[in-house]
């Protein structure tokens, strides 16, 4: 008898405790992004208290390499992450059950103009065909800039296999170009400006501007299991991101401050470049182009179902 009474008491005490704790506490989520301006909407939402306003206790985690984000999401180290379109689609193609929950950044004229193939001194590029036989450094093989560049080469009738691609991370690009380690790097602002000012070489091609696409660069993704279990949290997250995106696009000062705070980059440096355009809405057809491009580049093995990749 005593046992039963005890169990009832403990049970009710625990229930009371759970009830007391649950409504008062804001839901805690961790959002993982790399040190770029693409997740600026989430950074703003943290800094401007927009997540808090919608009842979310959100914390941002700085992740070194974008391709680690899917694994970080699946291990629940972060609940929402900002993978690039290419990383997300490759992970989904590889069988990781990820789902996009909101848009982060998309390509537009400003972001496309910021992207360049920067060529070292002593190498002359007059057209796409001149890249043949060159050693080109990309921030990652199969990464966003690399896939775009290969797409551009194919459109211009240049066989990508004729180019020797190597990996060169953004912070080491200037020194690698200077030492002649590579002939060109696939890069973006502020690196283009910094390398131009240091007289390390010239812009060889504005390949993203020539492609002139408007598809997503980075979007917010979660594991399907988590997203389906926490529809309310996703809703709150979307609401906060939707409020933050216009601030990113219209208030350069606030956006720069939030980006500098998260990436720890010097504010003066951040201010030099326009953050990538924030677009909170993500539509299935926006991923269709990426899937098509990546399939042609043989980066995807299976058939991805567009309608399953984005959470309703």
């Amino acid at each position: 008898m005593g046992h039963l009474v005890m169990r009832a008491l403990v049970g009710s005490a625990l229930t009371a405790l759970a009830l007391a704790l649950s409504p008062a506490k804001a839901e805690k989520i961790q959002i993982g992004c790399t040190a770029t301006s693409d997740c600026a909407s989430a950074m703003i939402a943290v800094d401007e208290g927009l997540f808090k306003k919608h009842g979310l206790d959100a914390e941002m985690v700085l992740i070194g390499i974008n391709s680690n984000i899917p694994a970080a999401i699946l291990s629940n180290s972060i609940q929402i992450g900002g993978p690039t379109s290419t990383v997300f689609l490759q992970a989904a193609d590889g069988g990781l059950d990820l789902v996009a929950v909101a848009g982060a950044s998309i390509m537009n004229k400003t972001s496309n103009d910021a992207i360049a193939a920067f060529v070292r001194n002593g190498v002359t590029i007059t057209g796409p065909q001149d890249f043949r036989g060159k050693k080109v450094g990309a921030p990652g093989i199969g990464a966003f800039l690399h896939v775009l560049f290969v797409k551009w080469l194919v459109e211009k009738g240049v066989d990508p296999k004729s180019i020797n691609f190597v990996e060169v991370t953004f912070p080491t690009m200037a020194d690698t170009i200077k030492s002649g380690g590579v002939d060109a790097v696939l890069t973006a602002e502020p690196f283009v400006m910094r390398m131009t000012n240091a007289n390390l070489g010239t812009v060889g091609a504005r390949y993203a501007a020539e492609l002139a696409r408007t598809e997503p660069i980075i979007f917010y993704a979660a594991s399907r299991e988590w997203a389906e279990k926490n529809p309310e949290t996703v809703k709150k997250f979307r609401a906060a991101i939707a409020e933050a995106a216009p601030i990113v696009n219209n208030d350069r000062d606030k956006a720069s401050a939030a980006i500098a705070k998260f990436t720890k980059q010097p504010l003066d440096l951040v201010k030099l470049t326009t953050p990538n355009h924030a677009e909170p809405v993500l539509k299935p057809e926006q991923l269709a182009w990426w899937i098509d491009v990546m399939s042609t580049q043989k980066m995807l093995q299976g058939e991805l179902d567009l309608n399953k990749l984005i959470l309703d």
Binding site: T34, A35, V61, L62, I63, G64, I65, N68, A71, A72, L74, S75, N76, S77, I78, T169, F170, P171, T172, M173, A174, D175, R194, A198, T263, K264, Q265, P266, L269
Partner: protein, 255 residues
């Protein structure tokens, strides 16, 4: 011209630092991976005063030591068991030699999915790396114990536990400690590597964040600090070894 003898060895590194500083300034080098020593010193002082460096050091050392303790304990237990029992040693040889060569860092992708970011993953990887040196040196130390000591244990009819506690461990202790000292060095290296590769905490993550933030001065300050940490750790362990075991530590033979 009277210069204390102790300062002489410092002349060369100091001159090199000054030359580096001068070269960086004269050539007005703009680099995202190099910075003049004066800027590195300033960044180091800044990171020390705002506490970020100390927190990172705490995170790295906590993971390294927890991993060392866990891996060391497993290595010690297995090493003693294998050192005492020939049969067990022969049975386990293939298994151990098959698992041991796996670079601990190669386990990162699996560890990330299984354990996620944070201390747990880092401790698990460090522990994996620390098991092997401790296991192998302990096994050798136990196997190399003077046979007469074992005979004494037999004559005294000591239980297996007492035999390990009263004879085996004391006899092999100096070499076991040496194993732990080597494993401690490995633990620090592996902890920092895990942080550089994946884990967003500690000194390794600090290096990566500084690099991506285009702060080569801070990045190199972290590098210098990791060197200092490693140096202090090794000096402390060396001192402990000499104090605890005296001359026995140097020969590595405690019998």
């Amino acid at each position: 011209m009277s210069m204390p003898e102790r300062l002489k060895p410092l002349l060369l590194p100091l001159a090199a630092l000054l030359a580096f500083e001068a070269a960086m300034r004269l050539a007005a080098v703009q680099s995202d991976s190099l910075a003049p020593p004066s800027a590195i010193a300033l960044a180091l002082a800044g990171a020390l005063t705002d506490g970020s460096l100390l927190i990172a050091t705490r995170d790295t050392l906590a993971s390294a030591f927890a991993g060392l303790a866990l891996g060391g304990a497993i290595g010690l237990a297995l090493g003693i068991a294998l050192g005492l029992s020939h049969i067990l040693n022969r049975l386990m040889e293939v298994t151990i030699e098959a698992i041991r060569p796996i670079p601990s860092v190669a386990l990162l992708p699996i560890a990330l999915i299984a354990l996620g970011f944070g201390y747990r993953m880092e401790i698990a990887i460090v522990a994996f790396a620390c098991v092997w040196p401790v296991l192998i040196m302990t096994r050798a130390a136990v196997g190399g114990i003077e046979p007469r000591l074992i005979e004494v244990a037999r004559v005294l009819r000591l239980t297996q536990l007492d035999r390990v506690r009263k004879i085996v461990i004391p006899a092999a202790l100096p070499r076991i400690f040496l194993a732990f000292r080597l494993a401690a060095g490995i633990a620090l290296i592996v902890a920092v590597t895990v942080e550089i590769a994946i884990n967003p905490l500690g000194l390794g993550a600090g290096i990566m964040t500084a690099q991506q933030a285009l702060r080569p001065d801070l990045m190199l300050a972290y590098l210098v600090w990791i060197g200092v940490t490693g140096f202090v750790l090794n000096a402390a362990l060396m001192a402990a070894q000499t104090t605890l075991f005296g001359r026995a530590a140097l020969t590595g033979d405690g019998a």
